[in-house]
């Protein structure tokens, strides 16, 4: 039979050769069919959102022979309209780094040795059973929506605790508290369409030319088409974005609050605020004693009085921004015919006053009435592909429940117990630890209150990205009863110190859904198999849950004693905890359909799974129309587009904290930062990203094209400082803070240019961990740490010392 098959295939080859000779003529006869002709059987294209940032571009993934071989910008995607950035064009290479993790590894002594999945799942289940409430799950804004939902259900519905938090705490939580304090509900009212119509784009501590390049191009390409857009960069350092801007305003770190108050002061004093809009739709708030996220209501007169100190002269003195530029900003905000969009991201969020600064930015747009028309929008950008979709909407945070619910609300807990079919009282009313606390407790001995004994990390690299690692991470590695589990695709700074390492499938090696910065929920299908024994993160969670269920753990049973994650096909449960059977059903679709039911409460309605299969993402609320179709919403709270605004209201903030459909215009004072440069540590130290690399570089440092273009971390110095220190390009210097020190090469006149007295160091390089030096002070409401400013000093390393 084999011989026959061989003969047949030989005969077919001969026929194909002859056919190709007929088709292409003599010249091509000997050439194997090339890509263009193989398209029918070989290369196939499918949509997927890009794996990297929060922009949410769609790519077309070319798969051939079970491997990703090409990437193209998706022309049908509204976000990117066929364009990508250098990370997106190379995203396919992220799967094929030579050192992918392919089997579970258990620490034995100072080695990590291969074990079976069976054994790994047992170890985790035993650690949980030992003390379920001391088990923590530390996830990510790169979790897919179904992954985050499974994790939430496992911890909040199954273990009866709220010991789950995510790395988005480090990047987005101040944006969340800002939205809650202002509108009573999270996430932007506007969307990327604003970028197509705004007359003025103000970027607050933001460098979209490198961090959200596709969105930035969407604006500057309008100039190429002859449109006029005024770009304003308000930042602490000169970046690629600055070079495209009409106005570059440089401020002293932390004084962005003074600038915002200064603009509000001018609007009020000049009478150029939008009285009509404010009287119809807004109220005023100020910080209360004791401080709460709701603050206290104040009158316009009180608001005006609180702003009184923020005269142009005073703000100039505080911030370094000239009175002329402050008046220019106030004049722009005062012109009602202009469309103004503000963008911000980590500069405003990674800030010990992040909640206040977010609220002030919303307040400026509300006070001036630059809200609710296309092009008039305060828009907070996210860093991660599903910081919004997973962490904020599903609510994988210590204080949250799915669909915008809160742990402290009895009603919300009861609703989730109903949805999950749990016995009453299963969901705890005690808020869990936020990220910094969680790691602090994990790094503290049990007898001293360190009640987190086991921490499971998924899709993130905290040993590189948490601030002040000496304090938050390293102590746990010497304590006997602390156990660190890490799921990742590649070896990282975190897997290297882990007790148990689990190999994960990534991106198009699994089904997935994510949600981007403009409320757009996106879906993709698995296209290729993961390498070796790497498996889906959601499967890992469900397998552990089922092992607990098998061991009789009550938390994994619902009211009828059924498994919490039971999935049925044709009326019979499918053993999805067996990885060989995991894709017998679409687990993602099942988890999503269940989660979807929780999204109506806060009017974040999601459509059925199938709708996302057809679309390049849909922006919530997605509301079913009388004809059965599903319609997305581009502009929230505005009657012309948002179906939840009552007819005739124009604008309606229907989740208002004051329950009167009004948004809150906040006053928040400028306060000095917790650590400022002094005689001993005279420099400001700022950290951040570069266009080539995504976060901690786990993926992008394994992509040759990106890694060659930006191979290592560096310290950016101002020329004058370099001169004073007697150092030049490539010289090694030691950067020191009160928490640690790091040797880095100097780059003057490089990617960015900090003003005198400032340093910038990117955080992607795992060999040069700048977060050994950063400050772990955080915002009082959002608990988000400030990575953007602390005091540092720079010392030149002698040649001899540098060699040793």
């Amino acid at each position: 039979m084999e011989r026959r098959d061989f003969l047949k295939s030989t005969a077919l080859a001969a026929a194909t050769l002859a056919a190709s000779r007929l088709a292409y003529g003599q010249e091509r006869a000997a050439v194997a069919p090339s890509g263009a002709e193989r398209k029918g059987s070989g290369l196939s294209w499918q949509k997927a959102p890009c794996r990297f940032c929060g922009t949410g571009c769609h790519v077309q993934v070319g798969v051939e022979g079970g491997k990703v071989v090409a990437i193209a910008g998706d022309q049908q995607a509204e976000v990117n309209k066929g364009l990508l950035c250098m990370k997106g064009y190379h995203v396919g290479l992220a799967l094929y780094g030579g050192d992918r993790l392919t089997q579970p590894l258990l620490r034995k002594g100072d080695k990590q040795v291969p074990i079976s999945w069976e054994e790994a799942i047992n170890i985790i289940a035993r650690r949980i059973l030992q003390d379920p409430k001391g088990f923590g799950l530390y996830g990510s804004g790169q979790w897919t929506i179904p992954e985050g939902y499974a994790a939430t259900k496992l911890v909040k519905g199954g273990l009866g605790s709220h010991q789950i938090d995510a790395n988005a705490r480090l990047c987005m939580s101040s944006a969340v508290t800002g939205f809650l304090a202002t509108y009573g509900v999270d996430e932007p009212a506007g969307c990327y369409d604003d970028l197509d119509t705004c007359d003025v784009l103000i970027m607050w501590g933001n460098n979209p030319a490198e961090m959200h390049p596709v969105l930035f191009s969407r604006v500057i390409d309008r100039r190429s088409r002859g449109e006029k857009v005024t770009l304003i960069d308000i930042g602490t350092r000169k970046t690629r974005t600055s070079t495209f801007c009409d106005h570059v305003l440089r401020f002293k770190p932390n004084t962005d609050l003074a600038i915002a108050c200064g603009i509000a002061h001018l609007l009020v004093e000049n009478g150029t605020w939008n009285r009509e809009f404010v009287e119809a739709h807004c109220a005023f708030r100020a910080p209360s004693e004791p401080a709460t996220l709701q603050g206290k209501a104040i009158s316009f007169e009180e608001y005006r009085k609180l702003l009184a100190p923020y005269t142009p002269a005073h703000v100039e003195q505080l911030s370094g921004v000239s009175q002329k530029d402050l008046r220019m900003l106030a004049e722009l905000f005062g012109r009602k015919e202009l469309r103004i969009t503000s963008l911000w991201c980590m500069g405003v969020n990674q800030h010990t006053r992040g909640t206040a600064m977010n609220s002030l930015l919303h307040g400026l747009h509300l006070l001036s009435g630059h809200f609710g028309r296309p092009g008039d929008a305060p828009t907070s950008l996210t860093g991660q592909p599903s910081a919004c979709g997973t962490v904020r909407e599903v609510g994988t945070l210590a204080q949250a429940l799915p669909g915008g619910r809160s742990v402290t609300s009895a009603e919300h807990r009861q609703q989730m117990e109903e949805l999950w079919n749990l016995p009453a009282g299963r969901i705890s009313d005690k808020i869990g630890y936020h990220a910094v606390q969680m790691w602090e407790r994990f790094s503290t001995p049990k007898e001293k209150g360190g009640d987190i004994h086991t921490l499971w990390v998924q899709v993130t690299n905290p040993a590189q990205t948490l601030p002040n690692r000496h304090k938050l991470v390293d102590p746990s590695r010497t304590l006997p009863d602390k156990f660190l589990i890490v799921s990742d695709a590649y070896p990282t700074a975190t897997t290297r110190i882990a007790d148990l390492v689990l190999p994960s499938a990534m991106w198009v090696e699994k089904n997935g859904m994510v949600g981007n910065s403009e409320r757009r929920t996106q879906q993709w299908f698995k296209m290729v198999n993961p390498p070796g024994q790497a498996r889906d993160d959601a499967w890992q969670l469900i397998a552990v849950a089922h092992r607990l269920f098998e061991l009789g753990f009550e938390g994994m049973k619902d009211r009828e004693g059924r498994f919490l994650f039971e999935v049925k096909k044709d009326g019979r449960p499918v053993p999805i905890w067996d990885f060989a059977r995991y894709y017998d059903v679409n687990v993602d679709a099942h988890l999503f359909e269940e989660y979807r039911k929780s999204t109506r409460l806060k009017h974040k309605d999601l459509a059925p799974y199938e709708e996302y299969v057809k679309a390049r993402g849909l922006r919530w609320p997605v509301v079913q129309q009388p004809d059965g179709s599903w319609r997305e919403t581009r502009f929230r709270f505005a009657e012309f587009d948002d179906p939840y605004v009552a007819k005739g209201r124009g604008i309606q903030f229907y989740h208002s904290t004051s329950h009167d459909d009004r948004a809150q215009i906040w006053f928040a004072p400028y306060e000095p930062p917790p650590e400022s440069p002094d005689g001993e540590f005279p420099f400001w130290l700022c950290t951040g990203r570069v266009i080539e690399h995504w976060h901690s570089g786990t993926m992008t440092m394994r992509i040759p094209q990106l890694q060659h273009a930006m191979p290592q971390a560096y310290v950016e110095l101002n020329r004058a400082d370099a001169r004073r220190l007697g150092v030049g390009n490539g010289d090694q210097v030691t950067v020191e803070t009160r928490r640690g020190s790091l040797d880095l090469p100097v780059w003057v006149g490089g990617r960015g240019e900090p003003p005198e007295g400032s340093l910038f160091v990117p955080f992607f390089d795992e060999r040069l961990l700048i977060n050994m030096l950063t400050l772990d002070e955080y915002d009082p409401f959002s608990k988000q740490p400030d990575y953007k400013k602390c005091a540092a000093r720079v010392r030149r390393r002698e040649a001899r010392e540098a060699k040793g």
């Binding site: 090339s34 071989v69 910008g73 064009y89 000169k238 921004v321 440092m701």
Partner: protein
Amino acid sequence: MSAPPAPDDNEANPQARWIQMGIGVTVALAVTGFFVGIRPAPERPEPAPAAGTAAPAAERAPSYRELQEARRGANARMYEGALEPLRAGLDSRQPIPVATARQRAQAVADRKAHRAYDGAPPTVPHEVDPLGAPGCLACHERGMKLGARVAPRLSHPPYPNCNQCHAVEASPKPLAPYPDMPANHFTGKASAGNGSRAWLGAPPAMPHPVHMRSECGSCHGPTGHPGLRTSHPERQNCVQCHASSAMLDQRGTSVGLPSATGGAP
């Protein structure tokens, strides 16, 4: 023909011609260097300016146009017209011989060296200004030729933020190349090779996507790689005869549906 004969005719005075050429090349190098930013980053910071000038609190970044406009004095116009000679010969309309199979293979190999896969944005084989609004268009907007080196004309409409998509190939100075990079086993889609022909002698269909790319002359024009050049540059409307592929250009239907991706039954 209409230009009056120059008093020192080049034919008659080879020495003068060499000097002119030398000047031309020097100017050209300076201009290219200025625009592409190949001047090395200063090894040492520049000498201090006069003391007492505190750094302004807020500054406005000048645009390239402003920098050009700001150039005053005797040398203000020194580069004017300097780029023109470098563009000479770029718009040849003369038919050239059909490429050989070997030239084509060489062209495909050379393209591969600067791309992760066929269709990826090519990497930049020279240094660029790491910060500024990139000056790519100075050379690449219309294309340029300097000796054997060619700055190909953009194949797509100009986008101002060039380095959004195009990564530099070599680590920018002073950063050290990464010493022990883990291997990457990605095998990118290879070049599709020749386009398919309906019959011998028919115009080949395009074997690559044309999304964003409208300027065929970038690769197929007279300054293109010998293996890729068209034999008939005098014909300008390429898409009249050469069909693009709906499949490669994502003009197919229902790309997101799994049933549509398994290949037609």
